[in-house]
Symmetry: C2
Subunit: 385 residues, 2 copies
């Protein structure tokens, strides 16, 4: 295959953005050929806006049977991701799915099984993985420059959303419509980076979600989570959509130094000898290990969404390694599910998270959700339980 | 009274430091007249080092009955604070006590009762209250410039202590000798500032202490604590003695802005209108409140220990208001006690903390403590239960 014909499913905010950069030719060896938008009114608008060689569908079956696409980008509401992805794989199409891959891990496992069976490429829109700063931190951690990881602290409170944002769609910030709040809508990137950079998943989590604290919504708009790892490391993750001006500060401390990323800058302090070695040999009481502030070059620029799409296309065409393979969709989501579940149980949640228990508790909330329009979605979720 | 004659009780690291600045005349209207050091060998050294008008005692009774002092500074190990303070008040002396006032809140309440009965001045060595930056943050919070407090985050991990520090005294970092680790020895200042600056105590705390994680000690050397307040605010407090290079970063977010103190600098971001007002009026979806970075002048310098002693002396001589009154000794300690207790119970701890329950759990640990020398101390603690 020399060129990948791409269809976009769900042409709202994100779907439109993907369509636009594809149309501008920002992704090599890719061509936008089709759009699937079930909303009649919006699809009419799309027909007027896009050139004739981009076919606009409102009917899902017609779209999948058109033979016009080799791959799809899924940008629908979260609950629909799993079913659409499975249908795409069944039609022999490659899939690039918006985050979160699904609302609960069971869905994402099913998506991955379908991908495996089809032999097609499955990638996720984890565009922040293209940020060279996060890539460099991952490099420092995984190459051992930071030593054994001891403490992680991410304050990511700059996801400000006003009530008018939440009021802009009745599915927003509802259990039935989205399946969660800041964890499921805004934070999937941070939760993914957290596990991807460190290469570690916690042993257990104790989390404190506040639901509808700052906004008139039914899901969480503030979260503080504490995690413990097998190697003894601890982590704190704090997020909210109710704070202004927020903070985005990530600190990772290892036994060989410390990295802080804040305000688009990475600072790296490196111990001359690892802390445990200093501690073993030092006899002077109050002293501290010698520490150097190191300037690490950060090369390259963040290619963002087009970068992930380009990588997806190159994987299909040239077999390039995926930056965000579909299997990784489970991990960040498991962190998010654990935070919800820990709050609901008011207790620790051990990893791997009990998927059935999570789903049971989620179902309860879906049943009493204010979002009632999409009864189909609710039933759908019930069906997979 | 025109001049306060001061005696220092316990002339170790801190006691020597107090003696030295007093001797140099750094504190107006104060004169060092006596030292009480029960260690015979050390008291001999002191006799050689100090001028003849400073009388060195090894006998507590003789010291208290000498008539040489109007006020004492207590700088002994923590467990002895309460008994010595009570004795001083009984002798009609004013008391300035090193931090922590005691190991458990019951002790500090007793000290305050004794102070009240005697009518003498009781102050605590919370020297970090003299830092103009913390004073300014307190001012911003309590005058309402930050609005309603929503979130507090203090990462105070620059209390590095090597094993050789802990090995320098058999009482160090033991339940029987100190009554705790980083919370009771290093953090009393931070815990005090936390409650003093905000003027708030939590409703409940869920904490995660790790005991002897990085050092061969029986007490906590790493703590992560999560607190919830009556007004809905949340807080995270993180500390350890095992990390290098550590961090000292305090962030306070209110509904009118945010302050960050780090690297000896205070940054203040202020919203043009309070966040709830913006949220109520804004209809545009993704927008955020207008935010100004404000430069707030920080005047004065940190007068530290001599500053607190000066304030204590001025209170005695001129009736100046105390910067760190004895009553405040309970609050920071209650935070620390709550963090221990929450870990021991593996559960929430509500405020006010159940003192009896805390003491019961502390006793258990004192009984199996490796520090056995001071049986008297252990019995003493038992007696108060």
């Amino acid at each position: 295959m020399n060129e990948v014909r791409i269809g976009i499913i769900g042409v709202g905010n994100m779907g439109s953005s993907h369509a636009n950069y594809l149309l501008k030719g920002s992704v090599d060896k890719a061509r936008l050929t089709a759009l699937l938008e079930k909303d009649e009114q919006r699809s009419e608008v799309l027909k007027g806006k896009f050139p004739d060689n981009v076919t606009v569908f409102t009917d899902r079956k017609a779209f999948f049977e058109s033979g016009l696409v080799d791959a799809v980008i899924i940008a629908t509401p979260h609950y629909d991701h799993v079913e659409i992805a499975k249908e795409a794989f069944a039609h022999g199409l490659h899939v690039l799915c918006e985050k979160p891959a699904g609302v609960y891990t069971k869905q994402v496992r099913e998506m991955n099984e379908a991908a495996k069976k089809s032999g097609k490429v499955f990638s996720l829109m984890y565009n922040q993985r293209t940020n060279p700063m996060y890539q460099k931190l991952r490099d420092l951690i995984q190459s051992g420059e930071l030593g054994e990881i001891r403490r992680i602290n991410w304050i990511i409170t700059d996801w400000y959303r006003s009530q008018s944002y939440y009021d802009s769609g009745s599915w927003r910030a509802t259990w039935a419509g989205e399946g969660g709040g800041v964890l499921i809508n805004q934070c999937p990137h941070n939760l993914d980076l957290w596990q991807w950079m460190t290469g570690m998943m916690p042993k257990r989590i104790r989390a404190f979600c506040n639901f509808g604290k700052y906004r008139n919504i039914e899901v969480e708009d503030e979260v503080t989570a504490y995690a413990e790892y097998e190697n003894g490391a601890t982590a704190v993750f704090i997020t909210t959509t109710g704070e202004a001006p927020g903070t985005n500060r990530l600190e990772v401390a290892g036994d060989r130094g410390k990295v802080v990323i804040e305000n688009g800058q990475m600072d790296f302090w490196r111990l001359r000898v690892p802390e445990p070695e200093f501690n073993r040999e030092y006899k002077g009481g109050f002293g501290t290990p010698e520490c150097w502030k190191v300037e690490v070059p950060i090369v390259g620029k963040e290619t963002a969404h087009p970068g992930i799409t380009q990588n997806f296309v190159r994987k299909i065409v040239d077999g390039e390694a995926l930056l965000a393979p579909g299997e990784d969709g489970v991990k960040g989501l498991e962190l998010s599910n654990a935070m919800h579940l820990s709050t609901w149980l008011d207790d620790w949640v051990e990893f791997p998270v009990n998927e059935e228990l999570y789903l049971e508790h989620l179902q309860k909330r879906i049943k009493t959700s204010t979002f009632k329009e999409s009864t189909a979605t609710v039933l759908d979720v019930e069906g997979t339980y």
